[in-house]
Amino acid sequence: MSIKGKAYVVGAWEHPLRDIPHLSTAQVHAECAKGALEDAGLSFDDVDAYFCAGDAPGFGALSMADYMGLKLKHTDSTETGGSSYIVHAGHAAEAIAAGKCKVALITLAGRPLGSRSGLGDAATRGERFRMAPQGGQGGGINEVPEAGFENIWGGTTHNTYGMCAMRHMHDYGTTSEQLAWIKVAASHHAQWNEHAMLRDVVTVEEVVNSPMIADPLHRLDCCVITDGGGAVILAAPEVAKSLKRPLVKVIGHGEAPKGPRGGKNLDLTYSGAVWSGPPAWAEARITPADIKYASIYDSFTITVLMQLEDLGFCKKGEGGKFVADGNLISGVGKLPFNTDGGGLCNNHPTNRGGITKIIEAVRQARGEAHPKVQVPNCDLVIAHGTGGSLGTRHGAGTLIMERE
């Protein structure tokens, strides 16, 4: 298989101005997007994939995707300097060839001369402009379109996830005790992990009686902060089969960003998993009922509960009942999760837990998890994560794997 002939360049548009003192950087990105879409005879609603590099203001592709009101199945913010957009075109062709998306938008925009207005890239970006973009702050913080309206309110991971938990409790009657069961399950697993930061088994009472950090989340509803890291290697089937390791293959994947979407019908009780899950299940041709082990991103207990609902492990609003009474404990419940202790007890390297979710899922699929938590005949596993904030903008990723 190759990308040859699998994707066409259907739209291309260059911004006519060379000095843009009157627009924000986000506006210039959007004007370029609009120009290329009009050239193609397509609209923003046709776009299902977005590619940008470090010149795009905000957090990866999340800020610009939300600014433009895009509904996406695929994003990529690979940063290779000025060559990024050529790399993106190749990645877009790969994604289209694989059936991951149909219409991919790539944008570049910036205003280094805009400093004359006092509100340009260089005014806030300074020396960094001459260096390779750092990714995440294209044009300086003031050019992140939502920044001035949102960054002033003291939003942290704790209180923005707290807002989700508060609304989930309001809409569905979810309780702190139900959320606590998620931490209890993680602690049951962490006791067997010699590397885990927290190895003591805790009770529901200990979780709900731990200090309130950001209502309604207690200290033990929160993940740990740790150093650390991890790495994962994917290889072609012929390479995999030449090695002396169990064969664990990728069978499904989905991804999606979610943001406040223009503030209309705001609903913080669901995550991007409602969009990243279905294509992954469809590609794998399995359902949640087939999964033997689940790695579910656990920045907070509420993160797990919402993602389990959104992936279809239970009905929306019934997550509290689903996680209670040890249902996530290996050997006890129906859905063993995060058997390494997860982010809640084991680790959360540099505040990013996605890779450790894959790693423990691979251990389970290989049959190499700790014997006390190893799931028997663990042939179908899922790793799912949320990055950014559930309460503002986040990206969801779903990966389903099978042991041959």
Partner: protein, 137 residues
Amino acid sequence: MSDVDERPTTRRIPAPGQNLESKPFWDAAKEGRFLIKRCTACGEPHWYPRTLCPFCHSSETKWEESPGEGVIYTFSVMRRNTPVPYAIGYVTLDEGVSLLTNFIDCDFDQLKIGQRVKLKWSQTGEGNPPVFTFTPA
């Protein structure tokens, strides 16, 4: 030396960052006017304000003054790792759009989802625009 506790009792909100697209909003804020954006093509209001309508993608959006009244969609009170507790949350304006804000001049323990709230500007320092905080109506 005074034995009066001079620690702040409310969170000090920083001045908002501005760019060319958001400047009209903050200029109006300095005059005490709270603006939202509405698309003249599809008629929908949106938040935060953009030139491009995030719903129909028309560039025909215009500023409109809002009384700044609505209900609490959700909130969370930050109680740790902060000099003073503060309440962050979303307000759904009567126009139908939800925005992130802080709740001020209220008993945080009495805040409720669905509670009616109104705009109350908070100052961010000499020369800076005020920001759109909310308080119980």
